[in-house]
C-alpha cells in the first residue's frame, strides 16, 4: 500500500486565526480522522500523523493561501478526500484546492521562498506622508534593525511594498516578504519601520510563494 501525499491550499479566518502552528497541525490531523480518512503515522515511540505545514502562520493572522502536506495511508480520490475534509473542518478553515504531490518532492517548508500580505492599518498620518515613507524604505540600501536583541537587515527581506488602497483613517499595504529558512520578514517589522506600529492593524497572508520544485 503506497501512501498518498496531498497538498492542500487553505484559508484561515475567524476563531482559527488564534490557533498556533501546532494547533493548526492538530486541527488537520483531527479533521482527517473525522473525515474517515486514515492518516499515515510516522512510526516510533510516539506515533504522530504525518502532516507538514508550509510555514507557521503567526497567531492573529488570517490567510488565504496557506499550504499543508497531508499523508494518507490509504489512497483516495482527491475530490472525495476534499469533500470529506471540507465537511468536517472547524469554522475558520476552508480548503481552496487539493493536489497530489509526488513522494519524492522536497519537503514543503524548504520550498517556501516568500509570502504576500495584505495589511490594513489604522492611522491618522496623511496618506502622502505614508507613500513617502514607503518610497524611502524601498530606496534605502539597508535597514539595520534588531529583533530579540539580534541585529539584522530588514531591507533584503522586503521584496515588494506598496500602498494598495487609501481610506479615511486607514491604509491597505501590500507586502511581499522573504520567508526562507533563517530569512523571514514579518509584516509588523515593516509597519514598525514605517512608523505605523501604533495603529490597530489586521494582517492577512495572501499566499505563499514556492521555489520551482
Amino acid at each position: 500500500m503506497t501512501p498518498q501525499r496531498l497538498r492542500i491550499t487553505y484559508a484561515v479566518d475567524g476563531p482559527l486565526r488564534y490557533a498556533s502552528n501546532l494547533d493548526l497541525v492538530r486541527a488537520w490531523a483531527r479533521a482527517t480522522r473525522r473525515a474517515g480518512l486514515v492518516p499515515l503515522y510516522s512510526g516510533g515511540f510516539n506515533a504522530r500523523p504525518r502532516i507538514q505545514n508550509g510555514a507557521a502562520l503567526p497567531v492573529g493572522f488570517s490567510a488565504r493561501g496557506e499550504m499543508v502536506d497531508l499523508w494518507l495511508s490509504q489512497r483516495v480520490e482527491i475530490a472525495a478526500a476534499r469533500q470529506a475534509l471540507a465537511a468536517v473542518l472547524p469554522a475558520g478553515l476552508a480548503i481552496r484546492h487539493v493536489v497530489e504531490v509526488d513522494e519524492a518532492e522536497p519537503a514543503l517548508p524548504t520550498r517556501v521562498q516568500a509570502a504576500e500580505y495584505a495589511v490594513t492599518v489604522e492611522t491618522g498620518e496623511p496618506h502622502h506622508e505614508i507613500r513617502q515613507r514607503v518610497a524611502n524604505l524601498l530606496s534605502a540600501a539597508s535597514l539595520p534593525r534588531e529583533r530579540r536583541g539580534r541585529p539584522y537587515d530588514l531591507r533584503p527581506l522586503i521584496e515588494e511594498l506598496a500602498v494598495a488602497q487609501e481610506r479615511a483613517g486607514a491604509v491597505l499595504l501590500h507586502m511581499r516578504l522573504a520567508a526562507r529558512e533563517g530569512a523571514t520578514g514579518r509584516p509588523e517589522q515593516v509597519l514598525d519601520a514605517l512608523g505605523l506600529e501604533e495603529g490597530f492593524f489586521t494582517i492577512c497572508r495572501q499566499r505563499l510563494l514556492l521555489s520551482e520544485g
Binding site: G14, Y18, A19, S20, R30, R34, A47, P90, G92
Partner: protein
Amino acid sequence: MVISLDQLERLLLHVQRPGRYVGGEVNAIRKDWDAHPFRVCLAFPDVYELGMSNLGLAILYDILNNQDGVLAERTYALWPDMAAAMRQAGLPLYSLESYRPVADFDLVGFSLPCEVLYTNVLEMLDLAGLPLQSAERDERHPLVIAGGHAAFNPEPMADFFDAFVVGDGEEAIVEVVRTCQSERGERLELLLALAQVPGVYVPRFYDVSYHSDGTVAEVAPNRPQAPLPIRRRVVPVLPPPPTRQLVPNIAVAHDRGVVEIQRGCTRGCRFCHAGMITRPVRERPLEQVLQAVDQVLHHTGYEEIALLSLSSADYSHIGELVAALNERYAEHPLTISLPSLRIESFSVDLADAVSRGRPTGFTFAPEAGTEQLRERINKPIPTGQMLEVAQETFQRGFRTIKLYFMIGLPGETDDDVAAIIDLSHQVRAIGRRVQGRKAQVNVSVSTFIPKPHTPFQWHPLAALEEIAAKQRLIQQRVRGRGFKVSWNDCRLTRVEATLSRGDRRLGAVICRAWEQGARFDGWGEWFDEDVWSAAFRATELDPASYLYRQRTRGEVFPWDHFHTGVRKAYLWSEWQYSLAGRSWPDCRQACYHCGIMSEFGDLWAPGWGCPQGGSET
C-alpha cells in the same frame, strides 16, 4: 447586542492566549437565538483550558441543547489581562457561541468543582454587569444558579446564587429550565417554584441562627414551600454520555475525549469527599461504553480517550473493556487513560494493557505512609504489597511511578511522615534495581482538608506550622536524582479549607476578598493570603473557629441540612472506627448500611453497586 469578533480583535492582540476567548470549537452548538426562547449560559469559573475538560459542563451542554426551545452556550473565567482589557473597552462577559452578553441569557449556570474558584464567580458576575448579591437581582436579570461538588456545602456562596442544584444535574437541570419557563413572572414566584424541585436549594428561604460560640444553632425554612432537609439528586441510571464532544482549537489541559464508565465508589476511603457524595456506584453497561468511545472518536477525531471513574479497576467489566478497545483500535494509535488505578497486580495489568507496549508512568495513591494510618483512612494496603507492585511495575517497563500522599490526616504521627520518606526511597531503590538510572519517582504531597459529608468532618485541619514543618522535612529528605517532589501552598490550603467548611457568613469575606483583588486563588501566581486575612479581619470572623476545632458529636454543621443519602450517624461511626484504627473491605462485598439504600433504594436499577432489595434499617 452581539459583540463582534472585530471588537474583540482589538483586545485579543494584546492578551495572552487569545484563542481562549473566541470559541469556534468543532461540535460547538450554535442555535438560532430568536428561535429558542429559553437561553442558558453555562459558566465555568476557571480559565478556558481547564474548563474545557469539565465533564459536568459538557453533560449539561449536551442535555440542554437537546431540549426543544432551549439553547445553551458557554463562558469561562477571563484571565486577568483579558478582564482588564474588557473593562477598559466597556465590553461585558459574553458567551463563546454567539458572543452575546451573559446578562442577555435567562439562566446562568455555574459549575463549581471546588472552592478556590469562588472569587472567580464574583469576578464573572461583575464582568457580566450583574449585581453580585442574589437579593439585588430580580426578573430583569438572568437566574444565577450553581451545581457541582462544591455545592454540597453551598452556604459560603449563599449570598450570590439564587439557587443551587445539589447532586446529579442531568434530570434536575431540565426541571429547573421547565420551571423557569412556566414562571416568567416575578423572581420570588420563580424561586418558590424552584424550591420545590427536588435537589434544588434556594438559600433565601432558610434562616440560619447561631450559638454564642459562633456554631450553627439551627437552619429553619422561612417558607412552607422550602423543604428540609434538602435531598440530593440521584440519577438512577446514567444517561448515555455526550459523544459530540467539543474539540478546542487551542491546546487545553486534557485534550482528549471522555467517557464516564462509572459514577460513585464503594471503597469508602474516609477522607474522600467525592466517594461519599456520589454513592451509589452506578456502572455504565459495557456495550454502551464501547459504543460511546466509538462515537466520540468519530465525532472528534481525538487520539486519546479517558475512561472516567473514581476507581477504574472497580468497574466490573474493566478487563473486557480494555481488551475490546485494544482489539478494535489495534490499527490506530489510540491512547487510553485510566485514572485512579489501585496498587495491585490487576491494576498494573490494566495499565500495561492500555499502554500497548509503550509504558510510561503509573500512579500509586497510598495517601499515608504507614499501614496503621492507611487503616485509619480506610485505604488498607500492606506496605509489602506496595513494594511488590512497584517491582512489578518497573519490571513491566514503566519508568516512572508517581506516589500521592497526604499530610495532616487524622491520627498522623511523626512516624507516618518518616514512612512517606522511607517509602519514597524504597520505591526509588526498586526502580533503580530494575530500570537503572532512568527510574523516576514523583512524590506529590498534598494537605488533607477535612471535607463536609465525610467521616473526617469532625476533625480539625492540621496547624499551618505543623504542615509546613512536615513539608520541609519531606523536601529535605526526598531529593536527588530520580526524585521529583511537589506539594501545595499550605496558606492556600487554609483558605480552601475555610471556604469548604464555612457557613453563610463567609459570603462577606469572599466578597471583600474579591473587592480587594482576590481571583484565580488556585493559581500560585495570583493567590495572595494577605487579602484573605484582611477580609477576615474586616468581617470579624475568625478562620480558626472554622478550621482548628475538634467538633463534638452534637455539633450542627453548616451543611447538615443537605442529605447526601449517607447518614450522619454512619459517618460518625466511621469516624469512631477510624479512631480505633479499623478498616473495612469494599462495600460491594458487604453492605454497611450507609443510608443510601434506605434513602434511594426505591431508585435501584441494574448497574448499582448496592445489593438489590437490600433495604436497610
